[in-house]
């Protein structure tokens, strides 16, 4: 059912099966028929590990979304709340439970916290007088969710804010726990590398957890050779730039949630004859995007400029395949043709969808404003005029473009200049506050606190040194047949991925100077293995590195890592894990202050 998870170098279906098993065990604990009340946010991530059929096998008969006041009627023995540990949700649950009690037959209540129980939440339930109503209060450690054959995410939307703004380490603790689970399933990872304050913390937690774990020795042959922990704030630049891969652009423009995207329906309207009377669908078209779809797996990581030619070639191949039917003369040949038909039709459907999506994206990327924005971004990243007020940003503010877009650009300029000159910063701030509202002082303060937008201190701009040493800006990019990771941003090579690349070859010792400029410590830890489990690498066999982005990762970075994995002489294959799949817009948004 999730075959695409096992295509990669590491079979992530193992993890999926493990978490499914946990879910079944919990459901069986609540004997009898059940209804699940869902924290709506969780249905997306859960959808990646289980279908309704699994729940139904375990007597789940009804499912509702968590809402205030009364629960909908359901003739079941158990009511189970699946929720994140958040206070506001506890209030709703209490309301549900209290209004339930007044109506006839008693039912058993349970609560399943995802990913962790929270004493604070239980305290709140106690204060509201309902804690005693729950028979089972459990936690379901859905820390790392498999998204694709080489991709795991915790889908914790507040992780960056918690770690870097609030300095709350809870999500780091979850990350460490998720990594312990990975090691339990895939063996101890012999080497841990890291860069950044949070990376250091997670490594410390892992080492401590390992020490405390006195159970049987982990006797699984290690699948991973290395773990690389990277703080998002080591590379604040990359997510701010507009991603230019196919998948990255889909995410930038429409937003991919739990591997689904919602698209405007017009382009997908069925063109059937005699259908003229039917109204066009108004509901957004929802598509799942992952490597289970052959065509998508092929084009997702390409620069968007290289997508058109692939689609066109595919169209020719499929047309030719359908033409084959004219050559089928004998019964055997016809049978052969018919047997291939389902596959061909799936391919055709997939091609139709991606042609439509590519058209939608092209409308955006060929617009004048998109070009101007890209020009401004590329100027900043290549180090042109980063210390002056930028006229494109001024224009955006004057025309009241979305605030998130403006903030993203200003932050990008700030990061590419190691902070803005005080005068420039003050100018932008005033323009933003006067145009979008004074209350955004709070958001600007947050951005400053996490280092995205700040005054330059000491009058020194370190970015050029970093850019040159790490070769972050490449003037000659081949978008069609890339030779370097910089193709994912049409010129800019993501800093985070460059660090990974340099770690695998020739090693970080070669870039000590830059590592010292970037925030946080860099380190290496070894986890000794019993001799029986030590790997003897075959000549030519690639290493497998698990790279964990603390604070989020973008699709363009993932594409760049996949590009490195596929290099013939690359020597390293990557499995990517993160606290959240994100882009510049969702990132900035998570840092904006909203009413309580």
């Amino acid at each position: 059912m999730a075959a695409h998870l096992s295509y990669g170098r590491v079979n992530l279906n193992v993890l999926r099966e493990a978490v499914r098993r946990e879910l079944r065990e919990f459901l069986d604990k609540c004997a009898g028929s059940k209804a699940i009340v869902w924290d709506e946010y969780l249905t997306g991530p859960f959808g990646l590990i289980a279908q309704y059929s699994l729940l139904k096998e375990h007597e789940v008969e009804k499912m509702f979304t968590l809402k205030g006041s009364r629960l909908p009627a359901a003739d079941v023995k158990n009511i189970i709340f699946f929720v994140r540990p958040r206070l506001e949700l506890m209030d709703i649950i209490a309301e549900n439970v209290l209004s339930e009690d007044r109506r006839g037959p008693t039912r058993d209540f349970h609560i399943l916290f995802v990913p962790r129980r929270s004493l604070l939440c239980e305290q709140r339930l106690k204060d509201l007088g309902v804690l005693g109503s729950f028979i089972h209060r459990d936690e379901y450690s859905l820390d790392l969710i498999p998204f694709d054959g080489d991709l795991l995410s915790m889908e914790s939307e507040g992780a960056f804010k918690e770690c870097y703004l609030e300095s709350d380490q809870t999500s780091l603790y979850h990350a460490a726990k998720g990594l312990m689970t990975m090691q339990a399933l895939y063996g101890t990872i012999p080497q841990i590398f890291g860069k950044g304050e949070c990376a250091r913390q997670v490594a410390n937690m892992m080492i401590r957890m390992k020490r405390e774990f006195t159970g049987s020795q982990n006797s699984i042959f290690p699948v991973f050779d290395n773990l690389l922990l990277l703080d998002r704030n080591v590379d604040l630049l990359t997510p701010l730039a507009t991603q230019l891969t196919y998948e990255g652009l889909i995410d930038e423009i429409y937003g991919i949630q739990n591997s689904y995207v919602k698209l405007p329906p017009e382009k997908f309207a069925p063109k059937k004859q005699g259908d003229g009377g039917k109204e066009l669908p108004t509901e957004a078209k929802k598509l799942q995007l992952n490597s289970a779809e052959e065509l998508y797996a092929e084009i997702r990581d390409k620069n968007f400029n290289a997508v058109g030619s692939v689609l066109s070639k595919k169209a020719k191949v499929i047309s030719a395949a359908f033409e084959e039917r004219h050559n089928a003369k004998t019964v055997g040949e016809i049978k052969q043709f018919v047997s291939q038909l389902p596959h061909m039709q799936a391919a055709r459907g997939s091609l139709a969808n991606h042609t439509s999506i590519a058209e939608l994206i092209k409308d955006v990327t060929t617009s004048e404003d998109f070009f101007d924005k890209l020009t401004a971004e590329q100027e900043f990243m290549s180090g042109v005029d980063t210390d002056k007020v930028n006229s494109y940003i001024e224009d955006c503010i004057a025309q009241k473009h979305p605030l998130i877009k403006v903030l993203r650009l200003v932050c990008l300029q700030s990061v590419c200049n190691s902070g803005l000159k005080q005068k420039v910063l003050d100018y932008y701030k005033r323009e933003i506050l006067q145009t979008y509202g004074y209350e955004h002082i709070l958001t600007l303060y947050n951005l400053e606190k996490v280092g995205l937008l700040k005054p330059q201190t000491g009058g020194r701009n370190n970015y050029p040194t970093i850019r040159k040493t790490l070769r972050l800006w490449m003037d000659d990019v081949n978008e069609q047949n890339p030779t370097d990771i910089s193709y994912v941003y049409s010129g800019y090579a993501p800093l985070s991925v460059r660090l990974a690349q340099l770690l695998s070859r020739p090693g970080w010792r070669s870039i000590e100077e830059v590592l010292r400029i970037l925030p946080g410590p860099h380190f290496e830890e070894r986890q000794p293995l019993p001799t029986g489990l030590q790997k003897k690498r075959q000549p030519g066999e690639n290493r497998v590195t698990l790279i964990f982005f603390l604070g989020g990762v973008t699709f363009a970075e993932i594409a760049a890592l996949r590009f490195l994995s596929q290099l013939e002489d690359g020597g390293t294959e990557y499995v990517i894990a993160t606290t959240k799949l994100m882009n510049g817009a969702s990132w900035i948004e998570s840092l904006m202050e909203k009413p309580f």
Partner: protein
């Protein structure tokens, strides 16, 4: 057209930056079209039987059987038709599903961690001591040695923290001395588990005086940050402000107080609240902004009351012709300025609602002011006002046109507000850079400007090319012909 096409190409090729377009040689736009065509042509003969073959997906794309799909399906029974309900029933009825044998997968997380069976007697004892089921669903990664020793009620701080961490609620009340409490906190912090740290903090907050709590946390930064986060979470604003005051974190104190205004809906109350923010220890820059925020809302309340009255009285033409779409309360400054330029443009500086007054009070830069006034007056098609906006008199009394935002921007804004060609033309002519002027004139079909500029540039080729773009037999064509036939001009090409 040719000219601009060439220009464009030159620009792409000479530009340092990579143009984000499809490559011309391998024109992908046409490729997209091609694949689209192929797809469409295929539709004709394969019909739509694929609907049944492919994975079943509801229109919204939710795969049938996915969790979010099922919520809608199973929850919607009350509203659906009888038929639908029947379907649902058969889909949901549990009896139709034989209990499937459990997959004999060995990949169970807990099986990995249940490395050892625990002595039965102990298990019951420990279960009896905690008020929740003993089995935690988390992979019990850190089962400590300590757990197997502590049969007594007398757990040490570290054992207590370990139990808390596994979700076993245990009483903290036994820790009475400050020293014990702090040791408990330190244990929790060293585990890095935010959940446990918070639990201990709740206990400390309840059992320690504010002064002692603050004093001890000041030297324990990790715990302190958790307390701040926790106080924000539960909305204990008072204690939070006390804490910032104690720590002398004045800017955070000020911002945290200011933040509360977001939750005040009533404009009068919000205004009064903002007043209390003035003078708080913000940074110098922010102080001025906060003062402005207060002044702006104060103004808006006055303007709103006044204009609502005018509008409902129905006597004022501008409000009758252009009814207000929304209240001006809580709008940003620039929006307020636009509003004031729209409804109160001619008012004397003395009134609160006059644009000039706003400009002065909030020190709005010229650029910003002109931009906003231009947009507002253009929207009303008040071309006179637009003209006046850019007319300056020098001391000799000569008038001159000047635009602090550059005339190319003026033209764009005018065009957005569908200004007539005569008006546009005037401002296109004022654009200094010739190439920009020509581009804008071409884009907005200001024929005269294009023609005159080509003539001035002595660019016969471009003029010829432009001739093909104007209507046959039009005045423009005549004009072009006249110029082309003129012997006065020495063409450069």
């Amino acid at each position: 057209m040719n000219r601009t096409k060439v220009d464009e190409e030159e620009y792409w090729n000479s530009s340092k930056f990579k143009a984000f377009t499809f490559d011309d040689e391998d024109d992908e736009l046409s490729q997209l079209k091609e694949s689209k065509r192929a797809v469409n042509s295929l539709r004709d003969f394969v019909d739509d039987e694929d609907d049944d073959d492919l994975e079943r997906v509801s229109w919204s794309g939710e795969p049938v059987g996915s969790i979010s799909w099922s919520i809608k399906e199973t929850a919607g029974s009350s509203g659906s038709s009888q038929e639908g309900r029947e379907q649902l029933k058969s889909r949901n009825s549990f009896s139709t599903y034989a209990q499937l044998p459990k997959p004999s997968s060995t990949y169970s997380l807990s099986s990995f961690f249940r490395g050892r069976t625990r002595p039965g007697s102990f298990q019951s004892l420990s279960d009896a001591l905690s008020d929740v089921p003993a089995k935690s669903y988390a992979p019990e990664l850190g089962r400590p040695k300590g757990e197997y020793r502590d049969y007594s009620n007398d757990w040490s701080p570290s054992d207590t923290v370990r139990r808390l961490r596994k979700g076993k609620v245990c009483s903290l009340e036994r820790f009475r001395s400050l020293q014990d409490k702090l040791q408990l906190l330190e244990e929790a912090v060293s585990m890095h588990d935010g959940n446990v740290i918070t639990a201990v903090l709740i206990f400390l907050k309840r059992t320690l005086s504010k002064e002692i709590l603050f004093r001890e946390l000041e030297v324990r930064q990790v715990a302190l940050r958790h307390l701040i986060h926790f106080l924000k979470e539960i909305g204990d604003q008072k204690l939070l402000l006390d804490l910032f005051r104690f720590l002398d974190r004045t800017e955070e104190l000020a911002l945290s107080h200011y933040r509360e205004h977001l939750n005040i809906q009533d404009p009068e109350k919000r205004k009064e609240f903002l007043k209390t923010c003035i003078g708080l220890p913000f940074s110098a820059e922010d102080s001025a902004h906060i003062q402005d925020h207060y002044t702006l809302l104060e103004r808006q309340i006055i303007i709103e009351a006044n204009d609502r009255h005018l509008e409902s009285a129905g006597q004022t033409e501008i409000f009758r012709k252009h009814p207000r779409k929304a209240s001006i309360l809580n709008m940003p400054l620039v929006t307020t300025l636009f509003y004031s330029c729209f409804y109160h443009y001619t008012e004397a500086e003395g009134t609160f609602s006059s644009p000039v007054n706003l400009k002065k009070t909030f020190k709005i830069p010229d650029k910003q002011y002109v931009l906003t006034a231009l947009a507002a007056r253009a929207k009303l098609r008040a071309w006179h006002d637009v003209d006046a906006l850019f007319t300056t008199k020098n001391w000799l009394g000569y008038t001159k046109k000047r635009a602090p935002i550059g005339f190319h921007r003026v033209v764009e804004i005018l065009h957005k507000n569908s200004a007539p060609v005569q008006v546009l033309q005037e401002y296109v002519n004022l654009v200094e850079d010739v190439d920009t002027k020509l581009n804008l004139a071409t884009k907005f079909k200001c024929h005269d400007v294009v023609i005159d500029t080509c003539r001035d540039l002595k660019d016969r080729q471009q003029l010829l090319a432009y001739r093909s773009k104007v209507d046959k037999g039009s005045a423009e064509e005549e004009k072009i012909d006249a110029i082309l036939n003129s012997s006065q001009i020495r063409w450069k090409n």
